[in-house]
Amino acid sequence: MFSYNLRLALRSMRRTPILSALMIGAIGIGIGVSTTTLTVYHLRSGNPIPQKSGQLYAVQLDNWSPNEPYGGTSDHLPTQVTYRDATNLMRLGKAKRQNASYITSMTVIPHNRNQKPFHVISRVTYNDFFPMFDVPFQYGGPWGDADNSSRAQVVVLSHELNEKLFGGANSVGKDVRLDGNRFRIVGVLKHWEPTPHFYDLENDSFGDSEDAYIPFDLTVPLKLQSAGNNSCWGNGSDHSFEGHLESECVWIQFWAELPTASARARYHQFLGNYVRDQKKAGRFPRPVKTSLRNVMQWIAYNGVVGNDTRSLVGLSFMFLLVCVLNTIGLILAKFMRRSGEIGLRRALGASRHALFRQYLVESAVIGVSGGAVGLLLGWAGLFGVRSLLGGNAARIAHLDWTMIGISLLLAIAASVAAGLYPAWRVVRIPPAAYLKTQ
């Protein structure tokens, strides 16, 4: 029965090629536009670490000025912490794991004299960074706790930097010169590209990961400076390195791994107590305020998806609605033109059900064709978005299977919705009325 209906649908579409093309085109363009915007939204709002995004928490403390609240966020909490708080919280170590890190600019001086020195971004971090964020290693592994405290000059290279310096060979145990200092390589990462770059949203959320990772405790001996965002209040006149470490400037990203709800509650309690202790030492002039946000909450809080992307999704659904209304009108016109034929078939004994099914199949055929056209257009649209955004836009503008499935479902749903009313309307035509005029 289905194949018979299908044959009828195809024949009917061939009979009115222009009208059919208009309907398929309208559904196709509607789907194409929605697919493009939805894909960008889907990839921008994706979960970069689904296996434990609910257990990793960004830590925020309100250490801001008594005169005015921090202005960069909706709840007036700074998004980073001070060096003092970072080192204190690391020392107290109340979470299952915790990590403080920031980025710094460095120069790699290759052993090969023909290779020019070049600039890299290094993450200055504790070794818990790697197990906390499930960072995959190709060779070696993180440095040990002993290296943290002995201030050993050790480094973990990114896959890309290892390719560039050692042609991808196992370089563990070899040396690399960073800013004139020798570092022993203890590990090399596999290609790792969390999208978005959730653990540091201060800079480009969809930018590259760091090129190298070095121990946090080298900050003081090597006088490392942050290459990221520094926000300060008060005491602004002291620009010395030591003064900066003592200051209320925030520039360090702090994360805690809290596997259970009770661990989270305990840690929240602990942060409150910590702030109250600091108040006794004359810091934290504002009311006690702390926050723990998990990965997805953190991404939403930092507005990673962007208002443009979200408003485009809304707009594209309105667009799709126009396309559906358009198709309803065209399908209705087409079906009504066949009133005579329908009247005849009803008079000869065809049930309303049979006719209804036939017309729905015809709508679905239009939907599937429209969906295919829409996928092509969506693919072209994403190509356009990539060329408009340039850089790393491929990370937020490529079709994946989820989106292909969603688009096809959307196309079929849209066109069946568009076909329902005309099919219902047309089978209710009293056969006698049409037989009479013939």
Binding site: L22, N67, D179, G306, V322, G329, L332, L388
Partner: protein, 401 residues
């Protein structure tokens, strides 16, 4: 207008088609008004005057890497080489580059009192060549002298004794005017305002303080050194290549970390706005096309359905013009219902965008312009089918089908 009644009653007998078209027009109007408004806003932001010579300037970032790297010596050598190169109009030491998205901002006050209100502004550290290289226009006071330029490190930084402000910065700090010669404070340190620059955009193009900038005479002796170079008109790309080779070959212990034209900085800063504009333009074009084709399709269908009726009217004395007018008027009524609903919808959509996505409220005149535009679109779309209807022969009335 005498056909008004019969058209209306004919429409009421076959409502569905008319309702579908009116709804389409309503949503189209809402989308198009808001899209065009957003496009216009973004284009206005992108084409604001920068006050800078964007076309001819480019930034060079150098980085020292040897153990015996001497920043003062290297910066001197690099600047001397740059200024002597053919095609280079001027070059200056400049720690942060306007429009680049990277910068320095500080709170300025008119008194050293820690409770005094501060005005956040962008800070640009440069030397005596800075103003000319940027291409900004000094409208009052004077440029820095060589003696006023301090050489410092970030560690030991203290503010220099003089500062040049943009007009916007000066007006914000001194609403009554007369900023020249006054003292401004960052914390407890004071600087004298020695010059006012007409206009200059700062580092972050989406910041409300974009036009408030302070230029201070300081050169940082750090591993990273920044230069801004202005090429002779039209020679930028060619000069950029020559500069890269030249600086690489000086052997003063540094290498070229990055070279980028100010034009590129600007387009990178606006990449999202540019993308949004293009996407909205494409969407607007497509939705207008779809709505127009929808009207053509339904009008053709309704002409086909009424062939006999049209033939009868023609046989009874209606002129071709009357038939065309009938269809135009019918479409106009439908479009008008659509744009009435659409105007309300456009405002509602805008309210939603304003409250949820922090867009600006729409200017009222976008809606009447949109209404007129959709009237024209509707009439243009229905004209073809209406003319075809007018060609139906009166003889048709005498036939049975």
């Amino acid at each position: 207008m005498m056909e008004f009644r019969p058209i209306l009653s004919a429409m009421l007998r076959n409502k569905t088609g008319a309702i579908l078209i009116a709804l389409q027009i309503a949503i189209t109007l809402a989308i198009v008004c808001n899209a065009v408004f957003v496009i216009q806003q973004r284009v206005a932001a992108m084409t604001r005057p920068t006050g800078l010579d964007v076309r001819d300037t480019f930034a060079v970032t150098m980085r020292g890497y040897t153990q015996d790297y001497r920043p003062a010596h290297a910066i001197r050598a690099d600047l001397d080489a740059l200024r002597a190169m053919p095609g280079v109009a001027n070059a200056a030491s400049m720690f942060h580059i306007p429009l680049s998205g990277g910068g320095w901002s500080s709170g300025f006050a008119t008194s050293p009192d820690p409770k005094a209100p501060t005005v956040d502004m962008g800070v640009f550290h440069t030397d005596t060549h800075g103003l000319d290289t940027l291409g900004v226009k000094l409208v009052a006071g004077r440029n820095f002298t060589n003696d006023e330029v301090i050489h410092t490190t970030r560690d030991t930084y203290t503010w220099p004794s003089v500062v040049i402000l943009t007009r916007a910065a000066a007006d914000k700090l001194f609403p009554k005017g007369k900023a020249l010669g006054k003292a401004v404070y960052v914390g407890k340190q004071s600087m004298t305002v020695i010059g006012i620059v007409k206009h200059m955009q700062g580092s972050w193009v989406h910041w409300s303080g974009l036009n408030r900038n302070a230029i201070v005479p300081a050169v940082f002796l750090e591993p990273r050194a920044g230069f801004l170079v202005r090429a002779e008109p039209g020679q930028r790309d060619h000069v950029m290549k020559a500069v890269e080779n030249k600086l690489q070959g000086l052997h003063v212990g540094n290498y070229v970390q990055r070279m980028r034209s100010m034009e590129r900085f600007r387009s990178d800063s606006y990449v999202g706005d540019h993308a949004m504009t293009v996407i909205l333009m494409v969407v607007t074009g497509m939705i207008l096309a779809i709505t127009a084709f929808g009207i053509v399709g339904l009008a053709s269908f309704s002409v086909n359905q009424r062939r006999k009726q049209i033939g009868t009217r023609r046989a009874l004395g209606a002129r071709r013009r009357d038939i065309v007018r009938y269809f135009l008027l019918e479409n106009w009524i439908i479009t008008t219902v659509g744009v009435l609903i659409g105007s309300a919808l456009a405002v509602a959509l805008n309210l939603w965008l304003v409250t949820t996505y922090e867009l600006n409220p729409i200017a009222w005149y976008y809606i009447p312009i949109g209404v007129v535009g959709l009237w024209a679109l509707g009439l243009a779309a229905v004209l073809g089918p209406a003319l075809r209807a007018a060609r139906i022969s009166p003889a048709l009335a005498t036939r049975t089908v």
